[in-house]
């Protein structure tokens, strides 16, 4: 699986100076998301911009341009704002992007920063009306005296132009920072979750939303856990799950009550008393939760592991995968440089047989649930030339046997973290965000999912 992966990195669509390791803060990618067919890939960055890539259709003359992703559109989604009442800056960083299922020729996506969610329409224009009576070709008003006859404007073909326009702005509904958005399978509503509350919106209605979960305690001093991620079930319109900083998952049924403060199922792994440490609670915080495509399983990521849960079993996860257990002895220094609070995302492949998540040093890991094999790969310029095959990497724990090309734990670069990853919905194509670079890898030999 991993050994045959072909690398086709997309380079340098952002200001990256090759000589220096200088990265503009605004260019750091903060979210990556494929649309439902995988034809489009959207990325959001800290500067509030969204860049959409489109896959070239297969069957073009050059064999190597098959299925490459090229920039389709770039737009500024959010601007920095200032909350006057609280004297706080509202960052323009895009926290999440979610695509809507396609309803007509145009594409729609939701993008959110800390406070405001926006619905964007992405459409193509390939025709332009020409032959106006009152305006000339450049748009200047004609001198009426020169107009001697009337003509009917006609639509003429033009170069393809991609237009992006904001269709809805859903604002003023969140006191805390929005961390997740998720579209319901009814294609009519979506939810937005912040640290303490989850709101349900209708896509057509911007002045009102319903609060469906509220875990704010009456006395803020009693606050012990926050919501870290939330997602709707892919098929059942009434089910959604949210994860907490205490490592629990709650499945809620919107049919039972208008306010879903009481969960229907609580997924929690009992703590192993022998492994208890000062950092146990921090590293148990779930940073991402994803339903499998089948809707049967949940994938969660906490600091050191990725876990697969069966919806029918609340007592413990079905499978636990160690992402970078060699960090367990380094938790103290990771706490000091704040890396212990990094929020890694996770992803399923289209057939739910492989899961993927990021790590440090620009490494990312994939685990095959059936064969139980796993691989560590690196997303960096040095290690991936275009169309070269990626070489698996290995991290040797401190004091372990060191092979050639291994990296020791102490030489890991903790500033190079892969937090955001996405997997094409049907094919073996993955998108990896490494700080301000986006890498797209394809498995050419094994395009069919197994």
């Amino acid at each position: 699986m991993g050994e045959d992966t072909d690398a086709t990195p997309t380079l340098n669509h952002r200001g990256f100076l090759p000589d220096h390791n200088y990265v503009t803060e605004a260019d750091i990618i903060s979210t990556v998301e494929f649309n439902h067919t995988g034809e489009l890939l959207a990325t959001g960055d800290k500067g509030g911009r969204v860049v959409i890539f489109q896959r070239e259709p297969e069957g073009k003359t050059e064999p190597f341009s098959q299925g490459e992703y090229n920039v389709y559109s770039t737009f500024q989604s959010h601007e920095p704002e200032f909350d006057y009442l609280k004297s706080l800056e509202i960052e323009e960083k895009i926290n999440k992007i979610r695509w809507l299922p396609q309803q007509n020729a145009a594409q729609f996506l939701l993008s959110t920063n800390d406070k405001t969610i926006k619905l964007w329409k992405v459409s193509e224009r390939d025709k332009r009306p020409e032959g106006y009576n009152l305006k000339d070709e450049e748009g200047r008003i004609k001198d009426i005296s020169t107009v001697t006859s009337l003509q009917v404007p006609v639509l003429m073909p033009m170069d393809l132009m991609v237009e992006v326009s904001p269709r809805r702005v859903f604002a003023n509904a969140h006191t805390y920072h929005v961390n997740s958005i998720s579209v319901n399978s009814d294609f009519e509503t979506y939810m937005s979750a912040d640290d303490l509350r989850i709101n349900l919106w209708h896509l057509d209605i911007t002045d009102r939303s319903f609060n469906i979960v509220d875990i704010k305690p009456t006395n803020m001093e009693d606050l012990t856990e926050v919501i870290t991620a939330a997602e709707f079930h892919p098929h059942h319109c009434n089910l959604f799950v949210y994860s907490s900083s205490k490592g629990t998952l709650r499945l809620c049924d919107m049919r039972e009550a208008a306010l879903c403060d009481k969960h229907s199922k609580l997924f929690e792994e009992p703590e192993d008393p022998s492994a208890r440490s000062f950092f146990s609670e921090i590293i148990s915080s779930v940073s991402d939760v994803k339903f499998s495509h089948s809707g049967r399983y949940l994938l969660t990521r906490d600091y050191l592991t990725a876990k697969v849960w069966d919806l029918n079993m609340e007592s413990k996860p079905l499978e636990t995968y160690q992402v970078h257990d060699y960090l367990r002895s380094k938790l103290c220094s990771l706490y000091e440089n704040d890396c212990i609070f990094d929020k890694f995302e996770c992803a399923w492949n289209g057939s739910d047989s492989v899961i993927m998540t990021g790590a440090y040093n620009n490494f990312f890991r994939m685990f095959d649930r059936n064969t139980k094999r796993d691989v560590t790969l690196e997303a960096s310029r040095e290690s991936s030339k275009p169309r070269a095959v990626l070489k698996p990497r290995r991290v040797c724990a401190a004091g372990g046997k060191r092979r050639k090309d291994d990296i020791s734990v102490d030489s890991l670069d903790f500033t190079k973290k892969i937090l955001h990853t996405a997997w094409h919905p049907t094919e073996n194509i993955i998108a990896i965000a490494a700080t301000n670079n986006l890498y797209i890898f394809q498995d050419k030999l094994n395009s069919e999912l197994h």
Binding site: F108, P129, S185, H235
Partner: protein, 564 residues
């Protein structure tokens, strides 16, 4: 064609589809079958308002077609939309079936029925929702046999859809379908689905049932109501979700009213009243509030004895509820009870409740009770009012919140309209005029605003003899705000005064104010002078007593805005 009206019509601007909305309206005026193609593409855009308007226009056009043209031009369009790739076109198609069905041939009718069937089981929830919402309308134009053979199976399928949003739309369709079928078929064809909906796992579906309960009751008829709907209603009143209970509580009066007369009282006493009693102490305030807005209506249905024995304790309990909205809702519906048992029974508890609301810490609660005051005064009668409520009304005039003072002034005006000028002269006017000496300038201004509001209702006599002197005296007030409001008042009450008063007393004062040191006082004095000049002119022209033309008075009133 009103080309100029196409405000969003510039196709050069990439303004988004909102600019298409006026065009859809425009095309509606043309009514030409050549207009169908643009409407067809407008019916596929993602913006719901545009699609809806395009569908509306197409529906209108279909009425203009002859049956032949319907088959040749219109039905193919509907077919194309119904088989479109994008779900937006398929949702629009759902709205067009019912308008073309009645007048086409039977082969085409079969095609249309087939299309509708396909859309009811479409992959996307949006299309199924559109189909479900048009199910009732489509059923109305179908022949009875087809309703039984086609519509019922579609209805049951949609009512068991996995998407909540589809199932709840089927509830609405249930009402239309039940009205179309003969009674004997309802039990087998409709009731199983309705029972299922009333016990649906999703509270939103149960909420819809509660919301449509009166319509359902009418549609299924008295027998089924007695056997099925009464227990269903009981369950909804006891539902675990507060939203459902509130929706059901809202329907209590209507449901009871529409029960068949022969056993109405028995059903209510045995089945409904116990649930209602529970709701009075519900944990959720919205439920209690919804109940409070309708519970009084039960007294007319149950009659005097039952009301005194069973309902009165409930009214009193709600009158003491901790939630102000509940108390307000009771108070606003007293007229029903008045008819049946007379207000005196309640007045003992009523008064403390009113006083508490009138002094509530939240000004919006105080505002609400003021707004009910004229109604209450009318129901309770002038003696009760004078005895107990007069002081309240006066106290509101000096409330800290301006909105309350303003509402209180308006309230006085309505009371004077109800009770008459003589009552005003004896009870209100002295107190209002007394405020003119208050050390607080805001209270002195309130006097002026009251005079503005009351002058007309009180009449020329009272205005000239009692109010005018007070107003004129205040022209020497220390505070400029008071002085310029004097000018405004004089302008406002001018039309009510006689020309002698205007000439001898008002004019000099206004002229003095026009030379005031304060800019605003000068301005408003000038305004008043020009306005009264017009009144003078009219007086001069008509030697008969100065009864002004009603329109002119209205104009004067509009010019003189009493509240600054």
């Amino acid at each position: 064609m009103k080309a100029a009206a196409a405000e969003g019509g510039g196709p050069c601007r990439a303004d988004g589809d909102d600019s298409l909305y006026p065009i859809a309206v425009l095309i509606d005026e043309l009514r030409n079958e050549d207009v169908q193609p643009p409407l067809e593409s407008l019916a596929t855009v993602e913006e719901t308002v545009v699609r809806d308007k395009a569908v509306e226009s197409l529906r209108k056009i279909s009425q203009e077609h002859s049956p032949v043209d319907l088959e040749v031009h219109f039905e193919p369009l509907v077919k194309r939309l119904a088989s479109g790739d994008w779900f937006t076109s398929r949702t629009s198609a759902c709205g067009l079936f019912s308008v073309c069905y009645p007048r086409v041939s039977s082969t085409v009718k079969a095609e249309i029925r087939q299309h509708f069937r396909t859309l009811c089981s479409d992959d996307t929830p949006m299309v199924r929702r559109a189909a479900a919402s048009k199910l009732g309308e489509f059923a109305k134009v179908l022949e009875l046999d087809y309703i039984k053979s086609d519509i019922i199976s579609l209805f049951t399928a949609l009512a068991s859809d996995e998407q909540d949003s589809v199932r709840l739309l089927a509830v609405e369709a249930c009402v239309s379908i039940a009205t179309l079928l003969p009674q004997e078929d309802l039990e087998t064809l409709v009731m199983p689905t309705l029972r299922q909906a009333a016990e649906d796992k999703s509270w939103r579906v149960r909420y819809m049932v509660a919301d449509k309960f009166s319509e359902l009751q009418k549609a299924v008829g008295p027998e089924i109501t007695k056997n099925d709907l009464v227990p269903a209603f009981q369950n909804l009143l006891k539902d675990c979700e507060a939203e459902v209970r509130a929706a059901a509580a809202n329907k209590v009066k209507e449901f009871c009213e529409n029960l068949p007369e022969d056993n109405r009282e028995q059903i209510i006493m045995t089945h409904i009243l116990p649930c209602v009693k529970e709701l009075v102490s519900d944990t959720n305030q919205h439920v209690k509030s919804a109940l409070a807005s309708v519970i009084m209506g039960l007294s007319t249905i149950l009659g005097k004895d039952n009301t005194i024995e069973h309902l009165l304790p409930l009214f009193l309990a709600q009158l003491k509820d901790e939630c102000p909205e509940v108390r307000l809702n009771i108070i606003s519906n007293l007229d029903c009870v008045n008819e049946v048992i007379g207000i005196r029974q309640l007045s003992q508890s009523l008064l403390p409740a009113i006083v508490e609301l009138a002094e509530d810490a939240k000004w919006r609660v105080r505002l609400a009770i003021i707004e009910y005051m004229p109604l209450l005064a009318g129901q309770l009668g002038v003696e009760f009012f004078d005895e107990k409520l007069n002081t309240l009304c006066m106290a509101w005039l000096i409330d800290h919140v301006y909105a309350i003072r303003e509402a209180a002034t308006c309230n006085l005006m309505k009371l004077v309209e109800k009770f008459g000028a003589e009552w005003a002269q004896n009870t209100i006017v002295p107190k209002v005029l007394g405020m003119a000496n208050d050390p607080n300038y805001l209270h002195r201004m309130t006097t002026l605003f009251c005079i503005n509001a009351l002058s007309e209702a009180c009449g020329q006599d009272i205005t000239t003899k009692q109010m005018l002197p007070v107003v004129l005296k205040m022209s020497n007030d220390q505070v400029a705000n008071v002085r310029f409001n004097v000018a405004k008042s004089l302008q406002k009450i001018g039309p009510v005064l006689d020309s002698n008063a205007l000439q001898a007393e008002v004019k000099p004062v206004l002229e003095k104010l026009a030379t005031d040191t304060d800019m605003d006082v000068k301005y408003f004095a000038q305004e008043a002078i020009s306005a009264t000049r017009a009144v003078f002119a009219l007086h001069a022209a008509a030697p008969s007593p100065p009864v002004l033309d009603a329109n002119f008075e209205k104009q004067m009133e509009q010019q003189a805005v009493c509240f600054h």
